[in-house]
Symmetry: C7
Subunit: 288 residues, 7 copies
């Protein structure tokens, strides 16, 4: 550690210049980082990011942005941003301070070791956070779902309320709102893309005449759709695929109809009601 | 290791100045860290943090702060703070001592290696702690739930008693109080946001007339709500969605009603009671 | 740290040359990296990669490329690419800046330590991403499945809609679209390779004459296939393997037929229907 | 490695002084560490720590300290302390020895690498230990439970026998004593805080008159409480909430009563007995 | 950083020589690595590796090599090899470039730190890949299974289609092809080694005469084997071991016969059929 | 790397002295380590360690030591010790050799890197071993169980046969001996401490007179204890707690009696037999 | 980097000597490592290791060694050994080459960083291998099981066929051979040590006279043992422990007998047969 030169004029000059340089860089870096955080947190970055994405369904950009941009959410985002900004400031100026100390010939190993272990613990603890954000960014970029889609996230099944960078919010059928961390989502099932399928599995006794039951069921399903006025929702005629499963306790006949996305449940209910009634009326035996 | 200069006057002067600098910085850092810990632990930081958040429901700041500020909890928080403060002091002065030793030309590698391995073990062990706090901070910032909300945390289902940085406290229906570490919460279900839905799944025999059963059920549900005086809690008329499921052992008819948050259970109970009675009275067959 | 020479002419010259070198290398590296990212993201790299693969089934390259090349997907890929490109630019120029600082004799240890801990947290968080891409690359290279194959990915069972580097998209029988991260797929079941097998497990009462039941079932299965016109789909005659399982509640007779890939379900349904009818007609007892 | 100066007088003097400094520091550190370990292990530290905590329930400090202070446990704690003290001594003097070696100009890299790998293996292996102690400290600081509380630790359900820094001891209803490592406890359910709730779920046939059954049940529950002399344990009147669940096999009526902590089971048993008897007496049908 | 000598003649000469050395070594290493990758990937290395192994069953080397050597698979292997080769080239020349830069006195710490963090993320993400290959190598060396063996890999049960270094391919009973990553296989069950056992568990009512039932079953099992012409497949006479389990719902009698590997199922089916018929004929009660 | 001084006399002398120092230290360290390993492995250390522990139950030191000290086990322990000793010797002398090499001015970085990666792999692989030993040491220090105790280790339930530092051996009720790695034990249930509780859950039909059933059961339980001569094993009178659970299929009455540890099963069996007989005799309905 | 001296005579001499030293050490290390690997792999080391172990049961050393020593296995072991040897050679000579490069003043940091990241990925991937070997070594040293023992490894239950350092081979009751990686075995159940217990749980109707049933059962069990000639296998008289469990569907009476290891199943079957027959004959009601 050639510390002597520090006390010469050249050394002192060099030290002063270096310190000035360090402080300057630190101030610049902090300014840039704060700007970026501010943009992202205030939602300014997200619509820009979103505008790069093609819309798949008839959802306007406004709808999608609403997921980020409403006043209250913007404010909450600003709070999150200010917290992250403070953390970044501490990190940047702390680093710069240590570099200045280093210019005076102080042995930095102990403080770096302390900071390293501390940083490691925090880094390990923070990996979930990083996972959440990275997953969120890629799910957004890949446009896996948007506000209003019916999704199955494993933990939560329901309608998307908000797509966030860290968490996705889903409201289920009982009105419960689920906050799911993006990093914990391993697979996403989206029931609102292009088309959906209404499926009715009809339980039959094992000695049923399957051909006749299928004919009655198809007719009744079509009638049920017409009766409830769901004709516009159904893309194909309902169709019996055949015996789906066979066990000692009976058979199952599967009937399906392709529908518009989001309409599969109403179509399914309409078909179920009429199919059961028709089979009963014709004395085709349902499994008891 | 140019140790000779240490014994010259310049070297000694430089060493003395550097040591003074190290001690000064250590004292300042310790002062700042203790202040921050004190603020956060004593709850002083949290209301400030909270005041940045917009309230979503009609919960006053006082209610929310009560989650942090009651006398007893403040005292316990101070205890936690004092323990953390001691740990920080040991870490800071230990680091400074090693730096001073280093100024005397001692080879610090062995002690840094020892401290590193020790620190690693503690850092690994402490990552859960860090996860808990980071999760807690983000859940607080995102305002996922507040005191009094009915939540489903997976491990614990019930009413929030306290929102902490490390643990969330929930009291379940049997009066048991659950302490859940924030880092172990993967998804949060909040049943107290905007509205809730009362759901009644009515079991029917497979040869029931669904249309008639649905009419009776809707009427009975409305009557049940009126009878128990829950009219103000219900946002929409109760509505039969249709046959929800079909199996060899019967059908299930789903009836739902949107309610104010937290009122779904009383509405649901009121509807259930009357719907069952009405169906029985009209001899619509419930599944046996 | 021999900083004095920096102020000599030689030292200044050397420093200037080195800095120029650093900047030059950084610009070149960034150019190359951006080109590679651009190629891969825009799908230009993938068909090239795909063209190296032999087709196993009658799927044209166009079909396979369609998995990557459609206009909308190309655009989305470009978005992803531009995000990754920005990240790479920040990393490369950040690194170069630090190297330039280092040439001025600044002690870089503190900033490297800070960046290292940050990088570690991000690196840990990003390992899932890396796993996803590596898995995707190998699954593509090994040609485990293509668009249109019927697959079982554990999380999702259905027809492949898109094969991506990070996620695979599958549409299941209810029309739900599943996005599965490639790194979470531990085993892939592909039901569309070379041939498939239609399997019917017939439940029999424990006092059935198995030999007679097997004869009736084989004949009925062949008749069922003929009746529904699936003769061209079946590679072998349907065959009864024998009693598959025996328990207090009855026996199970297994009947199988090898079919063309993707035709196993229609063949299975055709056989099931006729076998059940035939056994009932001949009063062979099915398990009750 | 400027080893020559070591052989000059100045060098030798400096080396001698440094070695003396290292030994001195090592002795002081060992003394302090042993003191701290001794205090904590002998339970001297824990009551001090405990005295900082506010008591929530009517449990004297003596009771709580008894969790740590009985003679036998003190002795066992001393044993644990002596083992940890030996480990600390080996670590401290081993580190000092290596530093002394380093002063003689020995290249310490190999021995540090060996020790590092060894330390890493031990550090990894020891992270569970660290997790246990950290969890224990925070659970103690947050006062999640005390001796005598009825808790549900997931692995073990019963009454707390001892609260330790590494393990918590619980005795369950069959008298079995469970040692649970604090680090494996993800959530704690404490049934002894403020109040508890006695819950009776009454099974009813689906054609029961719910209103009448509820009236009878409430009256009988109150009578049951009075009859068994539990009046002082019950904070509110027992109350029927309504139909809790509805299925094809019957309804469930939920009756609850808030009680003093720890009294919920006796109250629940008293209410159950009378409610069943009363419903049977009045020929209100229980589900069969 | 003694940069001055670089500008002397000696220094320049030394620098030039060193750089030439670095480039030379890089070219040589790349050549060797590419050769090795080419050999392994093109399957040339694997038969060599296989030829070291002793064959256990009557499987010719040709059959085993077919697992690696068919034209299409060789081509696919070449593709994989070319990808890996490119990665290796980038790594080797990138490393050499940095070393050359280092010879000019550039401070490499920042770029090493960046590359290290990147490499760490990739290294973590790639550990699954390494696990797969290492597991594959050891399973191959230990000859745990070969093409055509019936295996139970936990995830997939069926017949081995291909043994690869990264994945094993299994076709199950429904004709589905499973790709299982070798690293996810914790235990392998191989049903094609030396011999197999056909097991029939016969359900009996609790008041059956076990001795008589056992005699009838053994005789019938032998007759069933003879009738279906499986005599050559069976190594021992079928034997009743005795009452295997006893519960309130009946007893289970276990009958076993050692068979040639792969013949256990046909033997089992033949025995089951006759044993059930014989017991029924002799009015020995099967469990109802 | 100022290697020139090595060739001066002073340098050579210094090198020789340093090498001698290294060898000396290595020999001393190896001697000490071998002694410690020998003591621990041969069981000499364990009784000493055990003697520090207070005995909780009437188990002599001899009994406990027998867990470690029998001749055969001592020999096996010596084998383990000799293996570990060899590993330690290789590590110590390998380290010393590298240090000696380093004194000759050899650049040790490559060999340290190689050894580091190797050591890391082994260190990771060995962490389970370390966990097992650390868990074993703490379980021993905390005296969680001793030879002969009835324990529930999750994986294995039965009687402790041997308490080891790495594994615990338990013999279960079927005579099977379980070797459980100490590190995999998350909670220990010990049924042999202070007292145990015999619990009889009596199933009753829903229309039983609970008061009368309870009276009969208590009397019969006491009679059963007396009849089988277990009076000395029972600490309290058997007592009916009340209705434990209520469901559509009946009630459960819980009867308990505190017993001496290890006697709970015989007491429980004696009470069960008499209680069932008495209730049947008095025509109190048991659930059918 | 004082590279100038390299060009002096002293420097060149020193460099040459150092390089010669490095090469020499590398060759020696490789020789030793290869020897060790050869010994262990060829099974030469294992019997030596085994000879240190005491035999617990009447298994000759020959039997045990047969687990390692048969010709085919020795050959396979040699193959494994040659692969590992090649890996070791590459590692040792690669390290030495880098050290030689380092002597010429080449900056090794980049290549060490590359190798480090690569090594890390491999090291992480290889940790399972290390775990398997370490577990295998300790299981062997602790003599947990030998060839022919009946074991329960969780994944596989059956008879040990081979005890290996990496995998254990077990053949189950259906003749399937299981390869279980030693590192995945968390607990081992060994049913062939010292003695075993035959357990018969007899289901009884709830209104059975337990005393009489127990007397009949004990007598019948003894008769069953005598009848089948298993007298020599049974160590104690069969004994009825009492009512093991009580539920609404009946009681269970437990009967046990200590047997020689490996004979528990035949004894159990013999007892079961006679006990059931005897109870039926005496019209003691078995649970229906």
């Amino acid at each position: 550690m050639p510390i002597a030169p520090v006390l010469t004029f050249d050394g002192l000059l060099h030290t002063a210049v270096t310190i000035a340089l360090i402080v300057l860089v630190a101030v610049v870096v902090r300014f840039v980082v704060n700007r970026v955080i501010g943009h992202v947190a205030a939602g300014a970055g997200v619509p820009g990011l979103l505008s790069l994405l093609r819309r798949r369904r008839g959802v306007s950009d406004a709808d999608r942005i609403q997921a980020f941009g409403s006043a209250r959410r913007a404010q909450r985002a600003r709070t999150v941003g200010s917290v992250i900004r403070n953390a970044a400031t501490i990190l940047i100026f702390g680093t710069a301070s240590m570099m200045v100390l280093g210019q005076f010939g102080v042995n930095l190993a102990p403080v770096l070791a302390s900071a390293g272990v501390l940083g490691l613990a925090i880094g390990f603890g923070a990996q979930n956070l990083v996972k959440d954000f990275l997953s969120g960014i890629f799910m957004l970029l890949e446009d896996q779902y948007g506000v209003g889609d019916h999704v199955d996230l494993g933990d939560a099944v329901g309608t998307i309320e908000r797509v966030g960078l860290r968490t996705t919010t889903v409201r289920d059928v009982t009105g419960m709102v689920w906050y799911v961390r993006n990093g914990t989502i391993e697979r996403v099932g989206n029931g609102s893309q292009d088309h959906a399928v209404a499926v009715v599995d009809i339980p039959l006794a094992i000695d049923t005449d399957v051909t006749r039951a299928a004919a009655i069921a198809e007719e009744a399903a079509a009638a049920g759709i017409a009766e409830h006025g769901h004709g516009a929702d159904v893309l194909d005629e309902p169709q019996v695929l055949g015996v789906e499963s066979l066990s000692a306790s009976g058979m199952t006949l599967r009937l399906t109809a392709r529908t518009k996305p989001g309409r599969q449940w109403v179509v399914q209910r309409a078909m179920t009601e009429r199919v059961v009634a028709a089979l009963r009326a014709d004395e085709v035996m349902l499994a008891a």
